[in-house]
Amino acid sequence: MLHIKCPHCGIRSQNEFSYGGDATVKRPELNKEVTDQEWDNFVYNRVSPRGKHLELWQHLSGCRQWIKVERDTATHEIFNTYKANEEIA
């Protein structure tokens, strides 16, 4: 069982959350010409690293906020959690 610290609610068990994937993926800016490759990278292509991974989760059965979780994909250790709009150094 993962224990995820929701930045709004505190430590909660994994069952309260749903997964939202890689949080580093950025939607292309729409006020400029977007190439097929850029769309491809945004929609389909993923690094899926072994090790530290910044990802989105939603506290679905809690405050319903989207959050960011920094987690190790090899050990499942959670290093840090952030609010969705929080800038990460």
Partner: protein, 418 residues
């Protein structure tokens, strides 16, 4: 190579089984190969076998980080089927069914192929309609499919919950009678033994650490046991695909996820079909030893851990008990996890890459085991001929950017949703 038969068994029994040949050798890597296949799982071993057998390319090495057959070919729930609606998947898998039927004779190794049939249960009228459509698509591609009503399903699997007061009543099901199971380890070992006998080097405990690419062409690989030159390199590493892709500066439409499976204590024969629950994601069959072999959803987050968490297991088994209540009386014998190369449309990739001489075989999601022979056969063809076969033409790497997805489940790009 020593042929396995009743006579060799008797002969070796008389000498106390001391004189069996080694099934495969343990060579050191040579300096150069015509083809290096990275990954000593089912697909890699099958690829090497078909390179030697179909294309007479025997200067081949299989490079395996751990030991052969230690990944997903040793961790799956052994289901073999071709009950797909889309032509690409249906024709590819049905080609594989033919290879499965001949495999034990072909490899001189009993893979215990058991075509016991698979039933996908339906729990609504809409699902029955969808299954009728899928069944018709299958039959158009020459795949056997039978639509069963509730009474017919009840006759075949009376132990399922047919009471009136259930959340997901069984309306019927779609059966592929020729589907089944096989002994997964034997598949890996059978391919390994034959490949080895034709001159393929199976190199274990050898991790790939990098690639030599110059002027857009593959020159060789770097490994923990030294550099190896290669004219062609095939990647067959399932859940480790992204790790090797990173070394090649490639980003792929793949995420690596965790999938668990489990077996109960062995019980007397009760279930002679593979059955899947239609209102969730749960599948079950009974092994020859009597264990109920079960699996279902991904854990649902990127992972390389090869071990799962209990919430997913609980969720999956809750579905199992809803479908077959007697399961609640069984003790769990063992649970385990493997890492899946989840592609963004749920279908695999067998293709050339932008690097000359580098070939890619990945994206098998939940269905890698059944694809083992067809994957090896088409990948060997793709490597040997430097062009895709018509069977794997649809499994192209660029289908995501061109929009030619093969989205069998209609789930889109969220690989963790199942």
């Amino acid at each position: 190579m020593q042929k396995y038969s009743i006579f060799s068994l008797v002969k070796n029994a008389l000498t106390g089984h001391q004189n069996w040949d080694l099934a495969w050798k343990d060579p050191n890597p040579k300096e150069e190969y015509d083809v290096v296949v990275i990954g000593g799982g089912g697909h890699g071993l099958a690829t090497a076998y078909y390179l030697a057998k179909e294309h007479q390319i025997t200067k081949v090495a299989i490079i395996e980080k751990g030991w052969i057959g230690g990944g997903n070919v040793g961790r799956n729930t052994t289901i073999i089927r071709s009950n797909y609606m889309h032509d690409e998947n249906g024709l590819f898998s049905e080609f594989g069914m033919d290879l499965w039927r001949k495999m034990s004779q072909d490899l001189n190794y009993n893979v215990m192929f058991s075509p016991r049939g698979i039933i996908n249960l339906a729990h609504s009228d809409a699902q029955m309609n969808a299954y009728a459509r899928r069944g018709n698509s299958m039959r158009l591609n020459g795949i056997d499919a039978v639509l069963l009503n509730r009474e017919e399903v009840k006759e075949i699997i009376p132990m399922a919950d047919f009471s009136d007061n259930v959340r997901f009543p069984i309306f019927g099901g779609l059966m592929q009678p020729s589907a089944g199971t096989a002994r997964h380890d034997a598949v890996a070992w059978g391919y390994a033994r034959q490949a080895d006998s034709m001159g393929v080097d199976i190199i274990q405990n050898c991790e790939v650490t990098g690639f030599d690419v110059s002027a857009g062409k593959i020159k060789g690989i770097r490994t923990s046991r030294g550099n190896i030159k290669a004219k062609k390199v095939g990647l067959c590493v399932a859940g480790s695909t992204n790790i090797l892709a990173e070394k090649l500066n490639m980003t792929l439409p793949i995420e690596t996820h965790l999938l668990q499976a489990c077996v109960s204590e062995p019980v007397k024969p009760v279930l002679d079909k593979v059955v899947t629950f239609g209102a969730g994601h749960f599948y079950i069959s009974q092994s020859d030893k009597g264990e109920m072999v079960m699996g279902g959803d991904l854990d649902g987050y990127n992972s390389y851990a090869q071990r799962g968490n209990l919430p997913t297991l609980q969720h999956v088994l809750t579905e199992g008990i809803a479908m077959m209540p007697f399961l609640s009386k069984l003790k769990m014998l063992r649970t385990w996890g493997g890492i899946m190369d989840m592609s963004m449309d749920g279908s695999p990739i067998i293709d050339k890459t932008h690097i000359d001489g580098l070939y890619l075989n990945c994206g098998w999601c939940y269905g890698g085991f059944k694809a083992t022979p067809a994957s090896g056969w088409t990948f060997a063809h793709t490597i040997a001929q430097d062009r895709v076969h018509e069977l794997n033409a649809g499994y192209s790497l660029n289908r995501f950017s061109t929009g030619h997805l093969i989205d069998e489940k209609g789930l889109g790009t969220k690989t963790w949703i199942s």
